[in-house]
């Protein structure tokens, strides 16, 4: 069953076009990974899916059921109010959906952060902050969670742990859409991959389908085969014809 239908969406920041005719579907209870070069429009697409922006063209058909919270969201650089403990921080968010204190511990246990319950958020490592952000994204049991580069800047072991947590969340029945540059972890975890280049979808399918389609061995080779342009320079959408 398709949970989200993205139909020909376009988005511009002023006169700068970022996304152009982007279409794909997100299947329910799966992990969909958005991959692509820096500046290709991944974050904008995720913000559109999270309802933080309105597309300037096209539509996003949302088939999520009505609940206390429709979508959970993890920003690219999650941060929390300084001086607050992990427990206080998550307790604030659970209170917003009417959940009690038991819910706080349950969410922390789900991401493996229960030992850090009394730590101040200022004292958390980058990986722990990301895990707290993921715990926050699942508060209220939204049917869809959107994670913007959940392992950016993390060491391999922590990245692996974060992706394991994401797999467990999806296995429990939550649909996950994430962006990442860690293609090995994406290949291992994602059910579907949407490859974006220069604001357009250049490939879409399961990792197996994409590999078979291009006759290559890995998602990295799919990426290299599908993404155009020089690796020596960063392209910026809207600054070239």
């Amino acid at each position: 069953m398709t949970l989200i239908d993205v139909r020909g969406i376009e988005h511009s920041y002023g006169t700068v076009p970022v996304l152009d005719d982007v279409s794909f579907g997100v299947r329910s209870e799966t992990v969909t990974a958005i991959i692509g070069p820096n500046g290709s429009g991944k974050t904008t697409l995720l913000r559109l899916l999270a309802g933080l922006h309105e597309p300037t063209g096209g539509s996003i058909d949302d088939h999520t059921s009505d609940g206390v919270r429709r979508i959970g969201y993890l920003p690219q650089q999650p941060a929390f109010r300084p001086g607050f403990s992990v427990h206080e921080t998550l307790s604030f968010y659970t209170s917003l959906v009417g959940a009690d204190d038991d819910e706080v511990i349950a969410r922390l246990e789900r991401v493996g952060l229960e030992q850090a319950v009394n730590l101040r958020v200022d004292d958390l490592s980058g990986g722990m902050t990301r895990l707290l952000g993921i715990a926050q994204a699942t508060v209220g049991d939204p049917p869809l969670i959107v994670l913007d580069e959940p392992v950016s800047g993390l060491d391999p072991q922590m990245s692996l742990h974060v992706f394991d947590v994401i797999s467990e969340i999806a296995a429990d029945g939550t649909t996950v859409v994430l962006s990442s540059h860690h293609l090995e972890l994406v290949e291992r975890t994602a059910d579907d991959v949407v490859l974006i280049d220069d604001g357009e979808v250049v490939a879409h399918g399961s990792p197996d389908e994409l590999r078979d389609e291009l006759g290559v061995e890995s998602l990295l080779e799919v990426y290299e085969g599908a993404v155009t342009g020089s690796a020596d320079a960063v392209r910026v959408r809207g600054e070239h014809a």
Binding site: R81, F92, L96
Partner: protein, 265 residues
């Protein structure tokens, strides 16, 4: 929902050393002026007169300090985006943030005002214990009026500061906007009223109502009209209390509406 946001703001206020420092400075200044100015020995209204002018400057500064980063911090950390996915509206967030900070601000004002009042009770000569039954007599009720009006004025400036925190995109722009705001509120609007009066744009009959346009003039007018004039006896009207209260309410509600619009845009 609003109660949850209020609790978070209160915790932030309690844990921010700057707010405690501002309270201590305000207390030292208020007690110092009241004591060394001789107000505490003269009575409640003389102390009110002593404190009014310094409070016209200090209270807005403290109120702006309490509010100018209230919503900006959430925006810069990306928490406003996260909160947009929760069942809490921008309006609820603004009201909760404002009330939480306002409770802290009231405490910051209550400390110096309470200490000054206790000092008057302990040091004053021939003071009326509770309420004067005749116009022209000093009374603790008049000082309580001054305290309530000061809190009202501070709450108004805090609302404007919260609006600044919702509009600003960075700490520097918030600080710059806050400074501009203080200049406009403390000097600009009063100068505009003076110009309007001398240029004939504001007539003699409408002047006491026009003062309500400026929160500072509204506060000053309210204190003089409902506290000082009561004890000093009959004289020309200094301000319109009703217009002044309406003026402060419009500034407060209008500023919170701007803040909610800025979050939801």
């Amino acid at each position: 929902m609003i109660a949850t946001v209020i609790r978070r703001e209160l915790k932030t206020v309690i844990r921010t050393p700057t707010f405690a420092l501002l309270t201590a400075i305000l207390t030292a200044v208020a007690v110092g002026i009241a004591w060394f100015g001789g107000g505490v020995r003269a009575g409640y209204v003389p102390t009110t007169v002593d404190l009014l002018t310094p409070f016209e400057l200090l209270v807005p500064v403290v109120a702006v300090a309490f509010g100018y980063r209230a919503i900006l911090g959430d925006r810069r950390r990306g928490e406003l985006d996260v909160l947009a996915t929760y069942p809490v509206t921008g309006r609820e967030l603004v009201v909760g943030t404002y009330l939480g900070r306002a409770i802290g601000l009231v405490a910051a004002l209550a400390v110096p005002l309470t200490i000054v009042m206790v000092a008057i009770v302990a040091s004053g000569d021939d003071l009326i214990p509770v309420y004067a039954t005749h116009r022209g007599a000093d009374s603790p009720i008049l000082f309580v009026r001054f305290a309530v009006l000061t809190v009202f004025f501070a709450a108004t400036i805090l609302a404007v500061a919260v609006a600044v925190s919702a509009i600003a995109s960075g700490t520097r722009s918030a600080l710059a906007l806050a400074v501009v705001l203080l200049i406009v509120l403390l000097v600009g609007l009063d100068l505009a009223l003076v110009y309007g009066f001398t240029a004939g744009l504001v007539g003699d009959s409408t002047l006491i109502h026009s003062l309500a346009i400026s929160p500072l003039s509204a506060y000053r007018g309210l204190v003089l009209e409902t506290t000082v004039s009561v004890a000093a006896g009959a004289g020309p009207r200094i301000a319109s209390p009703v217009a002044s209260v309406v003026g402060l309410c419009v500034w407060t509600i209008g500023s919170l509406a701007v803040a909610a619009w800025a979050i939801e845009r």
